[in-house]
């Protein structure tokens, strides 16, 4: 299965029920809490995940990030797609 192909510009990525993005104050980091699993996420990934609200589609998310980081959308899109596909394969993200 190729998860990369499943996420496209109109996809509206979001965290499924049972997965939570949480600021872990005790350890000074962001975490993705899932059943029996904790994924440490860096600040950039946390920024992306905050935009994955099920309202924005991928094109909007990429555009917002490109503006925020003043980076070419194509580069942003490639990185975001890879990250989202990875999380989707781990079943902590839905599109």
């Amino acid at each position: 299965m190729d998860e990369l192909k499943e996420i496209h510009a109109e996809s509206r990525p979001h965290l499924p029920r049972g997965v939570r993005l949480k600021r872990d104050e005790a350890r000074g980091r962001w975490t993705l809490l899932a059943p029996e699993r904790i994924f440490e996420v860096d600040d950039t990934a946390a920024t992306v995940l905050e935009l994955c609200d099920g309202q924005r589609d991928l094109a909007q998310i990429v555009a917002e990030l490109a503006a925020r980081y003043t980076a070419p959308p194509a580069v942003i899109e490639k990185d975001v797609l890879a990250m989202l596909a990875d999380l989707k394969a781990k079943r902590v993200l839905e599109t």
Partner: protein
């Protein structure tokens, strides 16, 4: 004395609360101690809530609401709500018995994040026989449906041993059919009830290897659909499992009466005094209870652990197993191939896997022994 004291330990990640030892099932491998705690000794709801708040403040991220059967507590919804409001990720570990659609809805509304449902077998006959409870199959399936309907992620937990190891493929199919997002195929850990029933539970090595191959193939086939976690059986392993992620390193267990433990079987080790959450804060226990320091880190280790390159991976394995099988909790866990006792326990396992079932000790307050 100028000996430097070790830095304070990092905060725990998970809190596992055995809210009660009451349970409708009678599993032969129950992780509760042989001496089950009586309902009258259970903490009241306010004390549990205080513990949840303290755990969140200490830095814990997950709370596992377990038992016994945690929903046997009448205040389970209230407790779940408080745990969730404290900021903890709440996981209900349940037999599914007695949890109807209304209660499931109430738990979800209270903030429950995830449910883990046990199955003792992958068909009705096997499930009801091994859970020692007729009719549990239908009740478990109904609970799974309530969870899925409520939109909550579901994990199926299947504890595996000689009597159901042939059903690994069927457990995988069951998890997919029920709509679970995750399946735990957990080979029995031989402490407590399981150790008492080891001769009846120990699987042959060949069958274990086959089960591992089935799981590995299914992981590829079901990638993105079902996550399968597997706990491999100790006795046939090359390296031991880190005890609860390392003694006093990532987890705290609390018994129904409030005893804080580094792992659920820790009370089997003599000479350790476990503080009670009635008298001490969790932070105080985590940082200062000598029982939590007893096997924390690597200072306590003897050879072959002390100089082992895996000492901070395996953390010496399981202290309770070291005690149970070698007579000394400071020895290496004999599940490790470097332990001088390893060959003896493998030989024991192999012999037991081929012997008769012996006497079965079904989990209960008043034990019924069946020949």
């Amino acid at each position: 004395m100028t000996a430097h004291s070790p830095p304070p330990p990092a905060p725990p990640i998970g809190l596992l609360v055995e809210l009660t030892h009451r349970c409708p099932l009678g599993c032969l491998y129950c992780s509760n101690p042989l001496a089950l705690e009586r309902p009258g000794a259970e903490l009241d709801g306010e004390t549990w809530k205080r513990v949840f708040s303290q755990a969140a403040a200490l830095g814990a991220l997950h709370v596992h609401l377990s038992g016994g059967e945690p929903t046997a507590r009448r205040d389970i919804v209230d407790l779940t709500r408080h745990a969730s409001q404290s900021g903890l990720y709440t996981n209900l570990i349940t037999s599914g018995i007695g949890v109807n659609e209304k209660l499931t809805q109430e738990l979800v509304e209270a903030g429950l994040d995830h449910a883990q449902l046990s199955f003792q077998g992958a068909d009705k006959e096997t499930n009801d026989r091994l859970g020692h409870y007729k009719g549990s199959w239908e009740r478990k399936r109904a609970f799974a449906a309530h969870v899925i309907k409520a939109g909550l992620p579901l994990t199926i937990n299947a504890v595996i041993h000689r009597a159901n190891l042939h059903q690994v493929a069927a457990f995988i199919d069951l998890a997919v059919e029920l709509g679970a997002r995750r399946l735990e195929v957990a080979h029995t850990q031989y402490y407590g009830w399981a150790l008492a029933n080891r001769a009846a539970l120990m699987p042959p090595k060949k069958q274990v290897d086959e089960s591992i191959a089935i799981v590995e193939a299914a992981r590829v086939r079901l990638k993105g659909e079902l996550v399968i976690d597997m706990v491999v059986p100790d006795y046939y392993a090359r390296y031991p499992k880190p005890c609860a992620g390392g003694w006093g390193r990532v987890a705290i267990n609390v018994s129904p009466s409030g005893k804080a433990l580094p792992c659920h079987a820790a009370e089997s080790i003599p000479g350790l005094e476990f503080w009670n959450v009635r008298d001490h804060s969790l932070s105080d226990i985590w940082l200062s209870n000598p029982a939590f320091k007893a096997f924390r880190g690597t200072e306590w280790m003897r050879e072959p652990c002390r100089s082992c390159e895996r000492r901070e991976i395996d953390w010496g394995g399981c202290r309770c197993q070291a005690l149970a099988l070698t007579g000394d909790a400071r020895n290496a866990d004999p599940a490790c191939h470097k332990s001088p006792d390893h060959e003896r326990i493998v030989a024991t396992a192999m012999a037991e896997s081929e012997s008769g079932d012996g006497v079965l000790r079904w989990r209960s307050y008043k034990e019924k022994v069946e020949a």
